[in-house]
């Protein structure tokens, strides 16, 4: 599987107290990925605004940061989506509110709407900070899905660029895959054996994927495989939270309908309860 590097990174800019932190995160990432940074502001252009941005980003000059500022008034969701298309942005960074209220959940916040509709990869940041918090542990999904190979490969690429040492690949296995229901000692034994078998099968599948990734990305990394029997999409978030992962890498959702939001599954679980920074790969 070829690696698709992030050549241009986009970020929505709002003049909020978080502005500096968001910009610092985005700029740092652009430097790590050697990508061009596109700052998208929904609103009219003004001297003052541009000046503020350039003063903030001044400290990145020594790192040869290339950046561009785009001003466009309109509906935030549409503006950001259209400009990402236009500028061929590979990775869109969005700041997220950690826990959203129940009302917003149905309406969908701006960030979430963009996440659902974007054609590029999206990075949701929960705690942007001015100081760099090193990214050490990346958790990536190992679902049985055609997109997974691409996702795992990309996770290794990201890990390499950010100097993360540890990657855990979580294989979520639905409870319904175990044919045996636990009732007594006998069925428990059979269920345990069935689980072990599924685990071995999943592990060998993921190992196969890893073997396809170029050696320079996988060497010197601590790679851990963690099969989890639990609800898809939810368990991995929970796992990322308790294992104190710095980044969670997920497949992009296939299709999103109204029902998917009403009865959340897969990625929607993660979006309601962001456990850490989340990278959704397209």
């Amino acid at each position: 599987m070829p690696i698709k590097p992030f050549k241009s990174i986009g970020i929505g800019v709002a003049y909020s107290p978080n502005l500096k932190a968001n910009l610092f995160e985005a700029a740092r990432l652009s430097v790590f990925f050697e990508a061009k940074l596109v700052l998208i502001h929904v609103g009219e252009a003004s001297e003052e605004k541009s000046k503020l941005l350039s003063t903030i980003l001044k400290s990145f000059e020594k790192d040869q940061l290339k950046y561009e500022v785009v001003f466009k008034p309109g509906n935030p969701v549409d503006v950001i989506l259209s400009i990402s298309e236009e500028k061929k942005i590979d990775l869109l960074i969005l700041g997220a509110v950690k826990r959203e209220k129940i009302v917003k959940y149905y309406v969908g916040s701006i960030a979430r709407k963009i996440t659902r509709q974007a054609n590029c990869s999206v990075l949701l940041l929960i705690k942007p900070s001015v100081e760099r918090i090193p990214c050490q542990h990346i958790v990536v999904n190992g679902l049985k899905d055609p997109k997974t190979e691409q996702t795992i490969t990309a996770a290794f690429y990201v890990a390499n660029q950010l100097n993360a040492e540890k990657i855990t690949i979580v294989e979520e296995i639905g409870q319904d895959e175990i044919a045996v229901k636990v009732d007594d000692d006998k069925s428990l034994r059979r269920a345990t054996i069935a689980k072990e078998r599924i685990k071995l099968r999943e592990n060998s599948r993921v190992k196969e994927i890893i073997s396809h990734i170029p050696k320079e990305y996988t060497q010197n990394k601590i790679i851990k495989l963690q099969p989890i029997f639990g609800k898809r999409g939810y368990s991995i978030g929970h796992y990322a939270q308790i294992s104190r992962a710095d980044l969670l890498v997920m497949n992009a959702p296939s299709k999103m309908t109204f029902w998917d939001r009403l009865f959340p599954h897969d990625i929607e679980h993660i979006l309601t309860e962001l456990p850490t920074d989340v990278l959704i790969l397209q």
Partner: protein, 733 residues
């Protein structure tokens, strides 16, 4: 091929023991069955029919191992309502319908149903049932039959009945009331007397035997009529032929009424809750550490209930008291349940006329005692120690159940609990519960590493509302593994969950596993996390400041013998679980611990309990524990006595030691690996036991447990015990 054969062989090997324990259980089941049926206003034989049909069907089709089924205490209240409102014929139809519903619950794998009720609400409901039984039967026990519309009225009239009983002038009534009072006294003091021969026959059976003997004494000894008034005698025990001829014709006339289905639902609810709670409790007592197939048991119980209703019997439920007696008597598989049914059939076939010689007040005394046990003040103090709000839930459930009905009562309990949970967590908002109710909040995975332990993390909140999710995960873990349960991401954990977790901890400890709970220390126990107070706050220790005389003597003893002494209660008793003596017992705590500086020999007082509910007895004893740094065979050494002779008949085998006839005659040696045990008991060791005072000695492979009596030892006895242990250690090493 071979394991199957071994199973059959093992089954036949255990058969004598199971027949024996089935017999002992039938001794309790007979009077209880008669009494429970009469308390429900059904003909007395209905209780026996339920036990017989249940025993046969569930022993063949059921999924549990050492449970006993029959008519249940909890159902008395509901059956009473069903029979008085619907009439007996229609009530049998209701019983059959509830059997079908139970069957469906089993098929839809709803064995988790009982987990949806907060434990305080269930306690409140059980207490209400206890009061219903007690209130109604108390009057009959004192030969003062009354009938009132409201259950509360029965309770309020107890003082009047007492007053009337003192002023009886009818001889028949006086004798009847005496029979009741003597029976109640037997029930109350039976467990206090620990005499081997007395304990061979259970208390309810003593009442039956004594009252039948009393009646024969008057008939054949004094040639007089039985002085107890005839209306206070058990009546209408039909012979087997008559039971078969008189199978009631079910009356399907009024089954489309609202009242009918209300009764069916109540019967099903209580039958399933009582059965499920009992199965859970009995599983903890099973010495072979098996797991019951709850759903299969529900199906079998449902089928048995249908059959029982058809033959004119009551609902069949799993009953805790009889089951725990079964375990204590050595019942090891379902055949004991079958034999208990068989013995009941024999009793009815051969002794049905003798049974009519039992006075009604004597039987009702058994029920009054049962009712008192369910609603004893101890339950209330225990609730209070968990938290004040538990008392609110408890009393709301209790009062609503008494005033309106069981279903309304338990619903009121659930709602009250939920409101209290929201109130306690008001700083987090009700959203915590609503938003996260349906989320799959439990994560479980096997941690990597040598130990291979299971890690379980729970998010948001964990209460009776979503406990089933956690339970589903925990049930999928083999009990001999290590589990770490992490509540650190949980904002709120309620007492129902903690109580169940405690049950898991005991279960894992007994089956060589380990169950650790972490992440609760961060929870505020007073405001944010009041339900955890039971588990997190140390038990208020009054003893610490004022040592009793025995304790201060123990302290000086410790100084003189160069030992360490600590009077504190310790709940950490896992080192005792591997001794087979504790297989069917529950250790509450150890205290007054004396320990050698090198930690090898320790001496302590211990409190443990045998059985559950009405068969529960708390025992305190002093024991000596010797830690060995080498392996020895597992064995149990006891004095040869009458009981051992009986159990020898039932399949245990004494291991003979060659050339030591005196030892073999005086002691009773048990263990699996005979050759290694015979090697271990060489001349020196055998001589030591022959020439020293008698103690019960047990080995679990790398430690010895020594004790003498099932009571606390005096200071002198402590010294002797310590000396014995020290010398024994020298002899064997």
């Amino acid at each position: 091929m071979s394991p199957k054969k071994n199973n059959i062989k093992a089954f036949f090997k255990a058969l004598p023991k199971n027949i024996f324990s089935g017999f002992v259980v039938s001794l309790i089941a007979l009077p209880l069955g008669l009494g429970l049926a009469m308390a429900s206003d059904a003909p007395p034989i209905a209780g026996i029919i339920a036990a017989v049909v249940g025993g046969i069907v569930v022993s063949i089709l059921g999924g549990s191992h050492v449970t006993i089924v029959g008519p249940g205490n909890g159902l008395v209240g509901v059956l009473l309502v069903a029979i008085t409102t619907l009439g007996l014929e229609t009530a049998y139809v209701a019983i059959m319908c509830s059997g079908i519903l139970l069957l469906l619950l089993g098929f839809f794998r709803m064995g988790a149903l009982a987990d949806f009720f907060p434990s305080s609400a269930i306690q409140g409901m059980l207490a209400a049932i206890g009061l219903i039984i007690l209130g109604k039967q108390f009057h009959i026990m004192l030969a003062h039959k009354i009938s009132r519309a409201d259950t509360v009225d029965y309770l309020l009239e107890i003082p009047f009945t007492l007053n009337d009983a003192i002023h009886y002038d009818n001889k028949g009534l006086i004798f009847a009331a005496f029979a009741g009072i003597i029976s109640l006294t037997i029930m109350l003091f039976y467990s206090k007397i620990r005499n081997k021969y007395l304990q061979l026959i259970p208390a309810p059976m003593w009442i039956v035997i004594l009252s039948i003997g009393f009646s024969y004494y008057f008939e054949y000894g004094l040639h007089e009529a039985n002085p107890i008034a005839p209306e206070y005698m058990v009546s209408g025990i039909p012979s087997i032929q008559k039971i078969i001829a008189d199978i009631p014709t079910p009356n399907f006339g009024s089954i489309w009424s609202f009242m009918f289905w209300g009764n069916v639902l109540a019967l099903t609810l209580i039958a399933s809750i009582e059965s499920l709670l009992s199965i859970k409790a009995v599983d903890k007592l099973d010495p072979e550490k098996r797991r019951s197939n709850v759903n299969r048991d529900l199906k079998a119980l449902g089928l048995a209930t249908v059959g029982s209703g058809l033959l004119g019997g009551l609902n069949v439920v799993t009953v805790i008291a009889r089951s725990s007696v079964n375990v204590n008597q050595g019942g090891s598989n379902r055949s004991s349940n079958f034999f208990h049914a068989l013995f009941l059939v024999l009793f009815i076939a051969f002794f049905s006329t003798q049974l009519t010689r039992i006075p009604l007040p004597a039987l009702m005394a058994i029920l009054v005692y049962t009712g008192y046990k369910l609603a004893s003040p101890k339950v209330v103090t225990q609730m209070f120690s968990i938290g004040k709000e538990q008392l609110i839930i408890f009393f709301v459930t209790l009062i609503v159940t008494l005033k309106i009905g069981l279903i309304t009562g338990i619903i009121a309990g659930v709602i009250t609990t939920f409101i209290i949970h929201i109130f306690i967590n008001r700083h987090l908002g009700a959203g915590l519960f609503i938003r996260n109710l349906l989320k799959p909040n439990v994560l479980m995975y096997k941690e990597h590493g040598e130990k291979d332990n299971y890690y379980v993390s729970v998010k948001h909140f964990c209460s009776f509302l979503n406990y089933y999710k956690l339970k589903k995960h925990l049930d999928a873990i083999p009990e001999n593994k290590d589990v770490i349960l992490d509540f650190s991401l949980c904002d709120f954990v309620d007492d129902t969950v903690l109580e169940n977790i405690h049950g898991y901890q005991e279960l894992f400890a007994k089956r060589d596993g380990h169950f650790d709970v972490i992440g609760l220390d961060m929870h505020d126990t007073e405001t944010k996390h009041p339900f955890a107070s039971r588990r997190l706050l140390p038990v208020p220790n009054i003893i610490k400041n004022s040592l009793t005389r025995r304790q201060s003597t123990m302290e000086t003893l410790a100084k003189n013998y160069n030992l360490k002494y600590s009077p504190k209660k310790k709940k950490e008793v896992s080192f005792l679980n591997s001794f087979s003596f504790f297989n069917t017992k529950h250790i509450n705590h150890i205290y007054n611990k004396l320990i050698q500086k090198d930690l090898t020999i320790s001496l302590f007082d211990i409190e443990f309990s045998e059985g559950e509910f009405i068969a529960k007895e708390v025992v305190r004893s002093t024991m000596l524990h010797i830690e060995l740094d080498f392996k020895i065979p597992k064995f149990t050494l006891d004095k040869e006595g009458f009981l051992e002779k009986v159990s020898a008949l039932a399949g245990f085998k004494d291991i003979p030691i060659e050339n030591h006839d005196d030892f073999s005659n005086r002691f009773y040696l048990l263990g699996e690996n005979e050759t290694r045990i015979a090697q271990f008991f060489n001349d020196d060791v055998t001589h030591f036991f022959e020439s020293n005072p008698y103690y019960h000695v047990e080995s679990n492979g790398n430690a010895l447990l020594i004790f003498e009596k099932e009571r606390l030892a005096s200071i002198k006895e402590i010294k002797a015990l310590y000396d014995f242990g020290k010398r024994l250690k020298q002899v064997i090493s």
